[in-house]
């Protein structure tokens, strides 16, 4: 089947089986290796992407279901000023250690901030509740998102 969608702002076409995981299509067919596979079953958030601006887990999303939508991965998001605010904040608060979980947290943070530009710590925790980090203990990440929301005034 031929599947058309917008990937990081550009129209793309893939000829593939519609039940293939979006995760595999992104990593293998488009070389977008910032999309990570942690658990492969919806539990860890490492594979998070935005589909029409909404948080989605690419490991349990078949590519056939994103036809006609706009998909943004960390590689596309990197090009934005919002990303730079999150990057600065994450490094300032020690939100990154090994970094494996980071793309997923950044995408989850964007999904939160796009709806709630000034979240409370509880709203932040709720928003990243589908993301696991084995290194940082989360506090740095919660602070990082808070810092980005304050310093990135006007971005969201």
């Amino acid at each position: 089947m031929e599947i058309n969608f917008i990937l990081n702002g550009k129209g793309v076409k893939v000829k593939t089986h519609p039940l293939r995981r979006l995760l595999d299509v992104l990593r293998e067919d488009f070389d977008l290796s910032g999309v990570k596979e942690g658990c492969g079953e919806g539990e860890c958030g490492a594979c998070a992407v935005l589909v029409d601006g909404e948080l989605a887990l690419s490991c349990i999303t078949p590519v056939g279901s994103v036809e006609g939508t706009s998909v943004v991965t960390i590689e596309g998001y990197r090009e934005t000023a919002k990303y730079r605010a999150l990057e600065e904040a994450f490094s300032a608060t020690g939100a990154v250690q090994c970094g494996f979980c980071t793309p997923g947290f950044i995408i989850a943070a964007e999904s939160l901030l796009s709806k709630t530009p000034r979240p409370t710590p509880n709203e932040i925790r709720e928003a990243i509740s589908g993301n696991l980090c084995r290194c940082t203990g989360y506090s740095g990440i919660v602070e990082g998102i808070k810092r980005a929301s304050e310093r990135g005034e006007g971005l969201w």
Binding site: E41, A56, L57, I60, G64, S65, A108, G130
Partner: protein
């Protein structure tokens, strides 16, 4: 490799279904995990698949004076943002999985998956919900407890599709919903408790009690509820030991990787006790 269909309308979905005996795929949050294969292989679907999660007809929510009708493919996120969805259902839904899963997972998928740990089920039982099943030009309506047969099994026929969930309006002024999981977020239920009551002055005019994840299917007893209904709150306090012992006979948990029988039973009865003693007052 199996055929996959992406119908443009509900009618087309029903037509393909009656032809093929296919697997219906709504949000896929259960299916993609159940049929997962290692190493980036295409998930293991052994029959044709019909994608239905995008169908507008199945994403509608309509509210009338009598009831609310929820399309089977409404996601949890959609339920949370609709004002007519009963508060107790929203409380339950807000504790399901995580935001990314709530954006995809549907209420119809939760019902049809019929897992004992399916969180919407006890709330839907308590609210006297029914489901509408459609096939080629025919529809049938069943109360939710008649739809669910056992763990993972329903009375859905191979050519049938769940289209809508009907929840009759009811009024309650006491609510207690508690999900017990391994952690606060993104955990499947070990136990869930749903308690609703309508208290006027000292009398409890209506009461609904349902337990999830502690028996093969949801535990709700209309008999015991009838014994409580209409009674004065002080009389109910005196009945508590008797009520607990009635439910104790109905709650029949298993031990599995999430919890064990004794814990599940003890906590279920403690939650019930707390509802009757505190929340219902």
């Amino acid at each position: 490799m199996v055929d996959t269909f992406k119908p443009q309308s509900l009618q087309e979905a029903v037509d393909v279904l009656s032809d093929k005996g296919a697997i219906l795929f709504a949000g896929g949050t259960d299916l993609m995990v159940q049929r997962r294969r290692r190493g980036g292989l295409i998930p293991d679907f052994d029959r044709p698949v019909i994608l239905i999660g995008h169908l507008k007809e199945l994403k509608e929510i309509s509210n009338s004076t009598r009831e609310i009708r929820i399309g089977s493919c409404c996601t949890y996120t959609a339920l949370l943002s609709h004002k007519a969805v009963p508060e107790i259902l929203k409380t339950c839904v807000s504790q399901i999985a995580s935001p990314g899963i709530r954006n995809r997972g549907t209420i119809g998928g939760n019902i049809c998956n019929a897992s004992p740990a399916g969180d919407t089920l006890p709330v839907l039982y308590a609210l006297d919900a029914s489901v509408i099943l459609a096939r080629d030009n025919k529809e049938r309506v069943l109360p939710i407890e008649k739809f669910i047969k056992g763990p993972g099994t329903t009375v859905l026929e191979a050519d049938e599709l769940l289209t809508r969930i009907i929840i009759p309006h009811s009024s309650f002024n006491k609510f207690f919903y508690k999900k017990v999981g391994t952690r606060a977020y993104n955990a499947l239920s070990k136990i869930s408790f749903t308690g609703l009551a309508l208290k006027k002055l000292r009398a409890v005019e209506d009461v609904r009690i349902a337990f999830g994840a502690v028996s093969p299917t949801v535990v709700r007893s209309k008999d015991i509820e009838a014994q409580i209904r209409g009674k004065d709150i002080d009389a109910i306090q005196k009945m508590i030991p008797e009520i607990l012992s009635h439910y104790s006979k109905l709650i029949d948990p298993i031990s599995d990787q999430r919890s064990n029988r004794r814990y599940r039973k003890t906590v279920s009865l403690n939650l019930l006790n707390s509802f009757l003693k505190n929340y219902m007052l």
